[in-house]
Each structure stands twice: as C-alpha cells, then as structure tokens.
C-alpha cells in the first residue's frame, strides 16, 4: 500500500493512496478528501500572484490627447487688471502698465515641450508661476476652469510673470506629447 500526497487545492487536501487491487488485478487508488481548514496567508498570497486578474477590472488608460487649442487668453497689469484677448488679436487693446505684467495662456490637450519667449528671448519655465486645470463640464457643453473634483483634465491654463515690464512681445508654443506630435503657437504684443 502506498500513501502519497498529490495536490493541495484551496482548503482541501486531496490524498490519493491506499492502492488496492480490484477484481481484475489492476491497482485502484482511493481518493480521500480531507478538510484542512483555511489556507495559510502565504499560500493565498502565492495564489494571488499566480492567478490572472479578472479582465473586468482592467482599465487601460487612454493616451493623453493631442493639442487642439492654444491661445494667449488674458493679459493683466496693475493699471488695467485683466484684459481678455480673442484668438484673432495680435496685440492688446488696452495700454498696460504698472509694476505687474502677467499673461495667461490656455491649451487643450497635453503638450510636453512648452517654449515661451519675451521680446525674442526664451524665458525660464519658472516664469510660469501658476497652472490651473481645464476640464469638460459635467453637461459636456463647455469647460470648467479650474476643474472640479472628479473631472478629467483635458487642458491647462498657465500664468506667466513679466513683472517690471510695461510692454513687450510674448510668444508661446507647445508640442503634443503623443501622436501626431503637432506644435501649436500664439503670440501677443502687449502695449
């Protein structure tokens, strides 16, 4: 008679042993199932590692959307406050001045190579002193700036600091993080 352990499965120990000869002389194994209680934590951990995750829980992230919109949106100064500028404007309407001069850019999509210039020179990324998020609103009819809790970020509003200047020429461009890798740009002459 042989007694051997064959497999451990869950909380049950399946034993195949007690080999006996039947009437024809062949060996017959009697299977005995013994309740061994709950599996050990170590075993459970091993099983969790080896078993594939249920596919219903897998949510692959969509790639970051490409840039579809990039504009200089506002120019602000201590004397004037904020002046909204349209996509068709190449210069401000107001005569800005004072101790502070700030510019706000807005972009939809994800870019990863931002380049800003002031009077022809590339400026440090530190000039971008604040970034707010842009999300599609709950109704799907427009955008919320900044985003509300639970919304998906689709773009960014960036604030640029040019304090100390009364006027100047600003350009901003960014290149899509993902395909098609397009570059968008805008410029504004601050009077």
């Amino acid at each position: 008679m042989m007694f051997k352990k064959t497999v451990v499965f869950g909380s049950l120990l399946l034993l195949s042993g007690f080999s006996n000869a039947d009437n024809s002389g062949r060996n017959v194994q009697e299977k005995i199932i013994v309740d061994m209680g709950a599996p050990s934590a170590k075993l459970q951990a091993k099983q969790m590692r080896e078993l594939p995750r249920p596919t219903a829980e897998v949510h692959p992230m969509a790639p970051a959307p490409a840039l579809t919109y990039l504009q200089v949106a506002y120019v602000g100064s201590s004397n004037i406050g904020w002046e909204g500028v349209s996509g068709f404007q190449t210069s401000t309407a107001a005569d800005h001045g004072g101790t502070q001069l700030r510019i706000v850019t807005e972009e939809l999509g994800y870019g990863s190579i931002p380049v800003a210039t002031w009077n022809g020179g590339v400026v440090s990324s530190a000039k971008n002193y604040q970034t707010d998020t842009i999300c599609v609103n709950w109704a799907g009819t427009g955008y919320d700036i900044p985003c509300l809790a639970g919304q998906t970020v689709v773009g960014f509003r960036k604030y640029w600091n040019f304090d100390g200047y009364q006027s100047g020429s600003f350009t901003y461009q960014n290149t899509s993080t993902n395909s098609p890798g397009n570059t968008m740009n805008d410029s504004m002459l601050v009077k």
């Binding site: 100064s77 201590s78 904020w82 101790t99 002193y129 970034t131 427009g142 955008y143 700036i145 809790a149």
Partner: protein, 150 residues
C-alpha cells in the same frame, strides 16, 4: 483658515490701533505700519458695499481696483489677488470665453479651487502658494464685510 494680520483687524481693533498709533506719534515714536491700519479701515469701508457670496466677476474687479487705490492690496500687487475669470467657459468663434453670467459665490469658488489644488496639484508648490494666498486674502476681506447686514 489662517488669518492675515494685514486685513484681519476688526473695527474695534482698528480704533484701538489708531489710538495706539496716535499715542506713539505724540511720543515721537514711529508707528509700525500706520498705512496698513488706515488701509484696513478703508478696506472695511469698501467691503461694506460688496457681498463676496453673491457677486459678479465685474464687481470683483471693481472691488479689487478700489482696494488697490485704497492701498489695501498687499504690496500693491493687484494681480496676485485678482484672478482672471474662472468657472464655466464655452468655445465661441475659436476662443474659450467665460460663460459666467450674473452673480455667484466667489468665496465658495475660491475654496473649491484651493481644495482641488491641494488634492490634485499638491506637488505644484508655486500654484498651491498662489491659490492659498488669494483664498486667505478674500476670506479676510469677507470677515471685514461681515457686518454689512448688521
């Protein structure tokens, strides 16, 4: 909420502070920040006209400009305390334009903004600093105008 001493003086504190400044002046001692005391009083007066819980963006701009003229904006840095329009936007003729019409709760909008930044942009220290400073400022202004309906 942290209270900025610059704008957090109550009316009673303000009277006491002015008395102290006058006393100090009579003794030939220069008061620490007489300008801020005066500007706080002016700010309190200005804030009697505005309800930050029911206000339009154009009114926020007017109020900020008044505060600027009164010397009640810290450092005179208007744009650190006056945000461009926020809230709902729509695409119109190829440009994102503000879709906020009428009045709203400016304080709640600022609080929501800060909550979002604290939760989702916590590593962006510069943005966090800017938003937190602005929220503190407007909460202080709100407390100055709290006697408006009394």
């Amino acid at each position: 909420m942290k209270i900025n001493a610059y704008t957090a003086l109550s009316t009673i504190d303000l009277v006491n502070a002015k008395a102290e400044a006058k006393k100090a002046s009579s003794k030939g001692v220069t008061a620490a920040e007489p300008v801020s005391i005066d500007s706080t009083g002016k700010a309190a007066q200005i804030m009697q006209k505005y309800d930050l819980h029911n206000i339009s963006y154009s009114e926020v701009t007017s109020m900020a400009m008044e505060l600027q003229k009164a010397g009640a904006i810290p450092g005179g840095n208007l744009l650190d305390y006056l945000p461009p329009p926020e809230g709902q936007f729509k695409m119109q003729n190829g440009t994102l334009v503000s879709d906020n019409h009428g009045k709203g709760d400016f304080i709640k909008a600022l609080d929501d903004h800060l909550t979002y930044v604290e939760k989702n942009q916590a590593s962006d220290f510069s943005t966090l600093f800017q938003v937190r400073r602005m929220v503190n400022f407007y909460h202080n202004l709100d407390s100055l105008g709290s006697g408006r309906h009394a």
